[in-house]
Amino acid sequence: MPRPSSLLSSFRPWHLLFLLLAALLGSQPLAAQTAPPAPLPLGASPADAGAVLVFNNWYLPRYEASPGGAGDTTGALLSLFRKRRYAGFLYAIPFIAGMSLALPLSSTDSRGRQQVASEAISPPIGSVILAATVAGFIVHANKFNKSHLIAIDRAYAAGQPIPARYRRLLNGQHFAEAALLREGLAQQMAREQQAAVK
């Protein structure tokens, strides 16, 4: 029976792989809960009438502004999802920090000689940071993916509310960008219609 401290010191970066595997296996039932068992293909759901795919195939349902009606929630959701998805690269910062703690650093001097440090700064701390970063990134990428957006939008069209964990992230900036996108789409469609008439 090894003592905890020796367990900690025997931790090696490749043990992360097992942690990652465990995280993946552990997250599967969660994904099965949130996603419908067999999502309908695009165009098969009644909510898809008038919907378009914009940018990198992001799903945007139809929206008609009405005085006193609901705001453009689906457009704001699209803006939120894209923003968060792009911001995922920020996970590179703790990842690099964890790597530089867990693995020996190398440096190149002015004569071009490369020297590798004899030991890493702190493999246990670095490994924990790495594991947390990778797990956090998986959760983040799973939360803001395209199929979840489609599922939320279809459920919203069917009258269900937006899940609270997404709804509380929406702010005015998302709605402003959604308005910009809707207007741009309307302009583009008007131009295409006119070109078809000619």
């Binding site: 695009l42 165009g43 098969a44 759901s45 009644p46 909510a47 898809d48 009438a49 008038g50 919907a51 378009v52 795919l53 914009v54 940018f55 195939n57 945007l60 139809r62 803006s79 894209r82 923003k83 792009y86 911001a87 690269f89 590179a92 910062i93 690099i96 530089s100 002015s110 004569r111 071009g112 000689r113 069209a157 900036q173 402003a176 960008e177 910009l180 996108l181 207007e183 741009g184 789409l185 302009q187 583009q188 008007a190 131009r191 006119q194």
Partner: protein, 172 residues
């Protein structure tokens, strides 16, 4: 470490957040709304649309030059100076430990100036002036006419794909 920081900085700048249509990195909402208003005013005029697209692209290009110049200046400025000469198996180095801030400044200044010049020349104010004059019936200046390439006419305002859904009863 500097390389990592540079890499992250370039990632930050290149990964533009969600924006509606114009590819200018860091363009604020007001500028996008201005372009959209102008596009709406000249909605069925292909030339005006192409001019707006041209200005958006050139603004993005100017920003790109500035970003690239700053990144290379940081890289050059933080690299240690010195020369290395190899004699057979030996290598003799000559390093005084100083940095190349002066060289970085010299190299980056004209590039930044070029980018800033581009941003200023293709500003939204100039765009509005050009479009107003064009809308009033004045001919386009020759310098601008030469720059309007077919690709600016073919760029859509927003690229989209429609989903082929079966016709169903309208949503409430």
């Amino acid at each position: 470490m500097t390389k990592l920081l540079l890499f992250l900085l370039s990632l930050t700048l290149l990964a533009s957040p969600a924006r509606a249509q114009t590819p200018v990195p860091g363009e604020d909402l007001a500028s996008q709304q201005l372009k959209q208003r102008l596009r709406g005013e000249y909605l069925h005029n292909d030339t005006a649309q192409a001019i707006i697209t041209l200005y958006s692209r050139r603004q993005a290009g100017g920003v790109g030059w500035v970003i690239g110049a700053i990144l290379s200046a940081v890289r050059i400025g933080t690299a240690s100076s010195g020369t290395t000469t190899s004699y057979g198996g030996y290598s003799a180095g000559n390093s005084d430990g100083s940095s190349n801030v002066g060289a970085a400044f010299l190299i980056a200044t004209p590039l930044v100036a070029y980018g800033v010049g581009k941003v200023l020349h293709y500003s939204n104010g100039h765009l509005e002036q050009v479009l107003t004059a064009y809308g009033a019936g004045q001919p386009l200046p020759r310098s601008l006419r030469r720059k309007l390439k077919p690709r600016f006419f073919q760029t859509p305002i927003v690229q989209y794909k429609s989903i082929n859904a079966p016709p169903v009863k309208p949503l409430k």
